[in-house]
Chain length 306, copies 2
């Protein structure tokens, strides 16, 4: 039996709606696979999902991804899948991407590594598409590859692995409320002015330059969004209070992870991380909402067998 | 008397509408300055403009830029200005930016270099705004500083100097027809879909990554525009024929310089440059339109005293 771990990812990274994503250390999903004698793919156990995930292999992101991989390789072996779901649903942390990625990474290892890691991308996307309804790589790519990734184009797929500044920390906070991606998409306007598009282009271009120049000050200035965050933040409890608190604590930025409700801050050292965590607790301990904080550097490894 | 040379610039660079710009070697404007005893700024001669440029100092980009600089420095000396206009008007090569930049660079030198080069930017922008009607740095910045520049924000001004790949050549071709920026702006839609904005973000982010990774293949893939070029190309004679010809000759890309009519191609070596030039001549020699071709590497120096 082989087990793969696939970590959480933060899509959009504020200035890169639908194109940027990055990998953090926690939380993560685990998928274990082993051969069976049945000549078919089965899900034998799902843990940690409170009964929410389907056992039907054509409906589950992990099994769909694995079946897609097997089909591509023209391998007819049967595989049993155990999913240990450790990531919250609808959290904006790339939960469905993580299960799909863990599935293909585990299966590829079980099969003796016929494909390189980056070659697994299309099959993980197939899996994630079952949950999200469309083929997108903005969470799947950083989950699989680690680091900060750019999806230049989805069809044909064109993924660029960007530079990762060494002294960059991420503090993510997940409040236990659920926001469906569908709902988060519905609040965004259908059209944007040239001024808004130009502002967004200036910021994402500056963000990429900041990564390569290792210029965290420029990064801080460019982490702005006019397309989605002004509309989505109303869906997230305590957004304004958290933003004020983490910026006061010295965060480089504050924004929404994917479609939320997870929000995240960048920081340039460990002390700042501790101060930001403390400020978040001060804000949220006054409320009735349960929450988790996940702090790490950017995870450069992505999904792996452990 | 001190003379400054300010070269042509290619605004937008296809994937960066209103935010990207780059400097090439030719053509350029010259502005010469000397002290006078009149305690005021005068334009004493304008060459090469066919009588089109105003002698009134409050209406001419070069003198407006110089007056703005003098005001900032609180210097009351009189300066005589000679403008040698070598760049075509309404060409999409940053002609008005070049005169403004040459003006402040010459005046700053005449005054004993009180400001560093990049500090001259706001005054050159003041000058260019007289011609264009709004404060924009997308031509002024690369003309002054050289290289490839990104305007992250105009107010407050935030300019980033991007990496310049060593083996990158530009072939620009100016057909002698005039397109007013106003007219070129009018054909662009007022609103864009999220899909269009996202496509543009993916491409400009990839373009910036390509510059730093020195990846000309990625650069070629990312030089696409959905905001302006699909609408503006109808204003430019022989656009489709030129595009087909230069791509056939091995160009990395083809697009509009600023608001046109100048178009440009990127190439990755000198042989390609010669082939591209030949193909352009084959297309345009069949027409009645006079044209000029300007080929060089990206000019990393920008405006200078010679």
């Amino acid at each position: 039996m082989i087990t793969a771990f696939a970590p959480a990812t933060i899509g959009n990274i504020t200035c890169g709606f639908d194109v940027l994503g990055m990998c953090i250390d926690q939380p993560y999903d685990e998928v274990s696979v082993s051969f069976n004698d049945e000549n078919r793919v089965r899900i034998t156990k799902i843990l940690g999902d409170n009964g929410k995930l389907p056992y039907e292999v054509e409906k589950n992101t992990a099994s769909v991804a694995i079946i897609s991989l097997l089909k591509h390789l023209n391998i007819k072996k049967g595989i049993d899948i155990i999913i240990n779901k450790q990531m919250p649903f609808g959290s904006g942390l790339g939960s469905s991407a993580a299960s799909a990625v863990a599935g293909v990474v585990a299966a590829n290892a079980l099969l003796g590594l016929p494909l390189k890691k980056h070659e697994l991308l299309p099959f993980a996307i197939d899996g994630e598409a079952i949950a999200s309804g469309s083929r997108h790589a903005d969470n799947v790519a950083p989950c699989l590859l680690g680091g900060i990734t750019l999806v230049r184009e989805n069809e044909p797929l064109d993924i660029i692995e960007l530079a990762v500044p060494e002294d960059l920390y991420v503090v993510a906070v997940h409040q236990q409320v659920q926001i469906l991606t569908k709902e988060a998409r519905a609040v965004i306007p259908k059209h944007f002015s040239m001024k808004e598009s130009v502002s967004q282009m200036g910021n994402i271009a500056a963000f990429v330059a900041a990564l390569y120049q290792n210029d965290l000050n420029l990064m801080s200035r460019s982490l702005k969004d006019v397309l989605a965050e002004p509309y989505r933040k109303a869906l997230i409890p305590n957004y304004d209070a958290l933003e004020k608190a983490v910026l006061y604590a010295g965060a480089l930025s504050f924004g929404i992870s994917g479609s939320g409700p997870t929000v995240f801050a960048f920081a340039n050292n460990k002390n700042k991380v501790a101060q930001i965590e403390q400020m978040i607790r001060q804000v949220l301990d006054k409320t009735d909402i349960a929450y988790s904080i996940f702090s790490s550097k950017i995870n450069k490894t992505g999904a792996e067998i452990r």
